[in-house]
Symmetry: C2
Subunit: 131 residues, 2 copies
DNA sequence: CTTGACGTTGACGTAAACGTAAAGCATGAT
DNA sequence: ATCATGCTTTACGTTTACGTCAACGTCAAG
């Protein structure tokens, strides 16, 4: 932070990178790909709360294994203009696609967790037999 | 398939690739990394049910965004010898680590789905206001 | 026996997601 | 004034996960 609470808080690239546990190079890479677009004060980048929100979404997307390009289309969706009916219907369509994808992943994860639990049970059985 | 049901069924590389919707190059790549090791009949690869099980696990791991190297350590875990107590305890440890990872992903996905639902609700509101 | 259809091993190419110097501004501290 | 810090761009390097030839083996069909 920088401001002393007189107006909206802002951050430097080092601060956001630190806070999110990534390098400044990573943050700039996301900017190169158009995932974030911080304000410029002269030559320096100035990050606002909006940028941090986006960064959070990006990193969660990454934890879920989405490619950055796809992540961009998703978070752009959230900021898309939703004035006209056609726009809204398009957005709702996209939402459905995304959800289908997420549902598949949810099933995959639940299956994996279940299998892991089953495997653990067998291991504990084996361990008991050794006792 | 090849056998005519007199013994255990086997498959060629083209068959498994086709069935799992990947290329033969992909299948061989997984073999190069030691994720599967099909039998050799002369120079040809012969895939058994075991290999297909592994391939299934690999592809699910991929859908979940795990790197192939990590996937290998995981599925190797399932086939690891569990004779000695130390081995079993090591395996149980690994299981815990894996589960922590999967739990994080589960939360991420649930959050993402929830946010998507909330976003859809807002979009539908906007759409109603236009009616 | 030659032609395909499928299989094999290299080996190089490529896209994504950064890492890693190199070299130049900008600004406050000494 | 200069010196150290931190930020900037430019650009080439690296890893992962395959794609894409090239060049050759093999085996049943015509």
């Amino acid at each position: 932070m920088i401001d002393g609470m007189t107006s909206a808080p802002t951050w430097t690239i080092a601060e956001v990178a630190d806070e999110f546990g990534v390098t400044h190079r990573t943050v700039r890479h996301y900017e190169d790909l158009g995932l974030i677009s911080p304000e410029r004060r002269g030559t320096q980048r100035v990050y606002h709360r909006r940028d941090r929100t986006r960064l959070g979404l990006i990193l969660r997307g990454k934890r879920l294994g989405f490619p950055l390009e796809e992540i961009r289309t998703i978070i752009d969706l959230f900021d898309a203009p939703r004035g006209r009916r056609t726009q809204l219907e398009y957005v709702l369509d996209q939402i459905d696609e995304r959800r289908a994808d997420l549902d598949q992943r949810l099933r995959d994860i639940q299956d994996a967790i279940a299998e892991l639990g089953e495997f653990e049970r067998r291991c504990r059985e084996d361990l008991d037999k050794l006792a």
